[in-house]
């Protein structure tokens, strides 16, 4: 049992949260094994959780690597404001690379039509940024419970020069030992919260009292329905047909991806305690609200092979 010097009872950090201890260990391995790591920050709850874990791993030093945001240009305004405030508090460098620039350079072509999204396009922007800054490790908030292909992902996942994932030739990960040896041009995607579930993340945010963007909590929003999902009608990012009627509902977002592919859920949970309770009883998986995964049964695996996070 670990007892705090100040006498507060039972601070047994082992049994309280083995996942937190594992994540801190992973962060320290990244800092020690790589020359130029970067933390991929989307402004979502998973990357916010990563930031807190990184703070814990290196205290009283600052986080020893920059944060990078691959900006699709379709962000919820709340998450951008939140991002800028957080970076200022941390005193770390923020790198932003925009999908719009990649489109303007003619490297990718904007999708059109009812389901147009920039989610796929951000892969090119990410790979370009990795090459530009010569990052050898990119830390991300992906979790194995999110999706079937992610369930096979390693904690240190090697990508080749083209950013591709060779899922059949992954390095075995034994005990706690993480092998970060790579060749020049390769990079490693690192997933410190691989073993966390959605509920683990929310419970951690609750326990640690971590601030998150307001759109994660229930609020009144102009929405419309399509394919049984709830879409934000507050901005012109999501294409809306004329027969898709707008109405106001109390909603929140469970995941904050690109606005064009992130659906909301009906909710009255306007506090973290209510959100945790709601997740605990939820009947729909988190990615059930991500339209990009519904394109096909193997959608995620295909995107990952191409270098998607």
């Amino acid at each position: 049992m670990a007892t705090a010097i100040n006498g507060s009872a039972d601070l047994d950090i082992l049994t309280r949260n083995p996942l937190e201890n594992e994540a801190i260990y992973i962060f320290r391995e990244v800092a020690a094994q790589f020359e130029k790591p970067v933390l991929l920050f989307s402004g979502g709850k998973d990357s916010i959780t990563l930031v807190r874990l990184a703070q814990k791993a290196f205290y009283p030093s600052k986080i020893p690597f920059p944060l990078m945001h691959i900006d699709t240009g379709h962000n919820f305004p709340e998450t951008i404001a939140f991002r800028d405030k957080l970076v200022k508090e941390l005193g770390v460098e923020l790198i932003v690379r925009k999908v719009q620039d990649t489109i303007d350079e003619g490297k990718v072509i904007e999708e059109t039509g009812k389901y147009a999204s920039r989610n796929m396009l951000q892969t090119t922007t990410l790979l370009d940024a990795i090459e530009e800054f010569k990052f050898d490790a990119c830390i991300g908030g992906a979790r194995r419970d999110e999706e079937k292909a992610r369930a096979k992902e390693r904690i240190f996942s090697v990508r080749d020069d083209f950013g591709q994932w060779d899922e059949k030739n992954q390095r075995p990960e034994l005990f706690d030992m993480l092998n970060g040896q790579i060749e020049l041009g390769q990079n490693v995607r690192v997933f410190p919260i691989s073993n966390w579930t959605e509920l683990d993340v929310w419970s951690y945010i609750q326990k640690e009292n971590i601030e998150i963007p307001s759109i994660y909590f229930a609020h009144d929003r102009n929405i419309f329905l399509r394919d049984g999902m709830i879409w934000s009608a507050e901005d012109d990012v999501v294409f809306r047909a004329e027969d898709e009627e707008v109405r106001v509902e109390s909603v929140r977002f469970r995941t904050v991806g690109d606005m064009s592919c992130t659906a909301a859920v009906l909710s009255r949970a306007d506090t973290i305690d209510k959100v945790v309770a709601e997740i605990r009883d939820s009947k729909i998986s988190e990615r059930g609200a991500r339209i990009d995964d519904k394109r096909s049964d193997a959608a995620m695996e295909k995107r990952k092979q191409q270098g998607y996070f």
């Binding site: 049992m1 670990a2 007892t3 705090a4 010097i5 601070l11 047994d12 950090i13 082992l14 049994t15 083995p18 996942l19 937190e20 201890n21 801190i24 260990y25 320290r28 391995e29 020690a32 703070q55 814990k56 791993a57 290196f58 205290y59 009283p60 030093s61 600052k62 194995r144 419970d145 079937k148 292909a149 369930a151 096979k152 090697v158 899922e167 059949k168 992954q170 390095r171 075995p172 990960e173 034994l174 005990f175 706690d176 030992m177 092998n179 040896q181 790579i182 060749e183 691989s194 073993n195 579930t197 683990d200 419970s203 939820s282 729909i284 998986s285 059930g288 049964d297 193997a298 695996e301």
Partner: protein, 415 residues
């Protein structure tokens, strides 16, 4: 919340994925959208039942061939525990995946098809779980519905398995037999009405009752230094913290410690976890330690309690499990990663290969291929500070990295 990691082992068609799917379904861990996807695909494939294996078989190739080809991780929780299941494939050629899955697990489920009984594969599954010193092993005798829920058949398989247990090296293993039907849901989460003769716990009841304290092999405290924290700010000008994870035992403020390899002595001044100080760091906590004296410590060094030193040597013998397509031969060199410490290692002697089905050993082998298990002596360019695997799961294990491919080519358990 407690976290229990479970490795699973079974041969093709033993119904491993179905068992895991059943656990998820009966614990209400499958969300509506996942369940709908399973219903849809089951119908498409022409089944009149729900194919729960669809809940776990992740990669396209697996869905096409209907087999599991890599370690997948599955998560579910009950009111008392969080479970992580490492779903490892059971083919002969995938020993490496089973070893990998077992290395991070505290419990294991070995599946046996009640129609086939104990087969050669079962020997291998048991051998690996025993080699990895998994404390809690559940032998799930599956497909009981296909043998008329026969008690006699269950007893026969149990007795065959007990014969196998006589050959094991690690004796202090808890082994529990449970007759189940993953497809029909008997004795997985819910008690079977078809097998009133079975008075034991269901699979989930057993897992719920597993005590973590029993399944972590306790050793002596070892603190491999991962990273040195030197903020050099005004507030923490002279702060020099050693970041790492505590293995095997506890470390407390005031403990006299020896830094390896320099053999310098000091005392623990403070133990930090984030911005709070603690008197004691328990096993497997990621803390930052400061020492009373200003001494030079870097990554790969190890703090141990004075009077409790590990073996410090440049040569040792280990059981290794080879995982690479490139063969291991006498004289070949590897990067040996022991915890967070890396040294160069040369293969000195291959003593003998061990057949993981308990059929004996083979001497006079010149090389090891993928999935071979063998006794090997290594010579190192620098000493490492180790314990035997038997006494210390973490400090007694290492990986071998091929410096050409950078692949993790093998894992070793020090004698």
């Amino acid at each position: 919340m407690e976290v229990l990691k479970i490795a699973t082992a079974g041969s093709v068609d033993d119904g491993k994925s179905t068992l895991i799917g059943r656990l998820l379904y009966d614990t209400k861990s499958l969300t509506d959208d996942k369940l709908e996807a399973i219903e849809r695909t089951s119908r498409k494939n022409g089944y009149d039942y729900l194919d729960f294996s669809l809940a776990t078989d992740g990669l396209v190739a697996e869905r096409e061939q209907g087999i599991t080809i890599d370690v997948a991780h599955i998560y579910f929780s009950t009111a008392t525990k969080s479970y992580i299941i490492a779903d490892t494939p059971g083919h002969v050629e995938y020993t490496r995946n089973m070893v990998t899955g077992a290395s991070t697990s505290q419990a294991a489920i070995i599946l046996i098809d009640a129609r086939k009984g104990v087969i050669e594969q079962t020997n291998r599954h048991f051998f690996i779980n025993n080699l990895l010193r998994i404390k809690d092993v559940i032998v799930a005798i599956n497909k009981m519905d296909l043998v008329d829920f026969s008690e006699a058949r269950y007893n026969q398989i149990k007795s065959d398995f007990e014969e196998l247990m006589g050959k094991r090296d690690y004796r202090d293993q808890n082994i529990t037999f449970i007759p189940v039907s993953a497809l029909k849901g008997d004795n997985v989460v819910n008690r079977s009405e078809k097998m009133p003769w079975y008075k034991g716990q269901t699979l989930l009841e057993h897992l719920e009752a597993v005590d973590r304290k029993d399944i972590y092999n306790i050793g002596t405290p070892r603190f491999p230094v991962q990273y040195v924290i030197r903020p050099k700010t005004d507030e923490f000008h002279d702060f020099r913290g050693f970041a790492g994870k505590v293995y095997g035992g506890e470390l407390s403020v005031g403990d006299e410690v020896v830094v390896l390899p320099s053999m310098t002595r000091s005392r623990i001044k403070d133990i930090y976890f984030y911005d709070k100080k603690y008197r004691t760091a328990t096993r497997r906590t990621s803390v930052t330690i400061t020492l009373e004296d200003e001494i030079n410590v870097s990554r790969g060094d190890m703090l141990v309690k004075a009077g409790d030193l590990p073996t410090i040597d440049k040569q040792f013998t280990a059981t290794i499990s080879w995982m690479d397509g490139q063969k291991l031969t006498v004289g070949s060199k590897y990067v040996l990663q022991h915890g967070v410490n890396k040294v160069l290692a040369k293969v000195d002697t291959i003593h003998h290969k061990i057949y993981p089905d308990y059929s004996g050993i083979e001497e006079g082998v010149a090389s090891l291929g993928m999935n071979d298990i063998a006794q090997v002596t290594f010579r190192l360019n620098k000493p490492i500070f180790y314990d035997s695997f038997k006494n210390h799961r973490t400090n007694g294990s290492f990986i071998l990295i091929d410096s050409n491919s950078n692949h993790t080519a093998g894992v070793g358990f020090i004698n």
